[in-house]
Amino acid sequence: MNRGAVVRKTALGEEEIQTRAHGLERNLRYVLILVDGSSNVDQIVAKGAGMPDVEGSLARLAAEGYVDIEGYSSGASATTGDVTAMKVSLIAIARELLGADAGKVISKIEAAPDSREGLLEVVSQCKKVVRLLIDEDKAEALMTRCRAVLDGISTAG
């Protein structure tokens, strides 16, 4: 991620600040609040000095469509660090959607290869597991949200 890149909230990010409709994790919400549309990654990391992994949180917010980071959300290539951030995002989505039943899915994502194709394959397997064992609607929601994260990698690559 280019640390000089300006970070802006997307419409989804603005909506989340206003309505909390997507139930963003507290830590991510704090980082989203720090995004003022003119600060770059470095400045936001400095503002959130007391908070854990602000840069990682920004990557997750970008991956989930809450913020746009110049040169990150569209243009830069997907590095291993980006893929790791995507894995973190996928795990967060699984936790959020599946709660106490997320264990199997999280283990699969953690063990997934560090590539978009590998992650996509594993997410597809996870969807089947969730459809069979947990909830058919949650399986669809999981696939949709994880795909959005992985498409973030795809457009970045």
Partner: protein, 106 residues
Amino acid sequence: MNGLQSIYTLDIAQVFSFGAILVMAYCLWLVVSLKANVPGGIIGKRWNLLMGLVMVFTVGYLTTPFFSALPEDVLRLIVGVIFLLGALYVVLTVKLIYRVIQELTE
């Protein structure tokens, strides 16, 4: 000799009945303990039904030692119901396996 044969037959029947009760009790323990791993989804929905059927079978099987004391028409009714539910159980299981195969191969 006939008396001996009758006692022998009765004993074998009882052994089979008790064996069936034990196997069904084990099956009941299995479905109940595995339920935690299948909270919902395609399998979870069917699992509740299968669990209910296993419970009915367990109760039904527990009555088998008392079959000789039951009137014949009641006995025929119980056997008929257990056969019907058994067939239903097999259909549900086969359909569930089919759905799982479909999901895994699509």
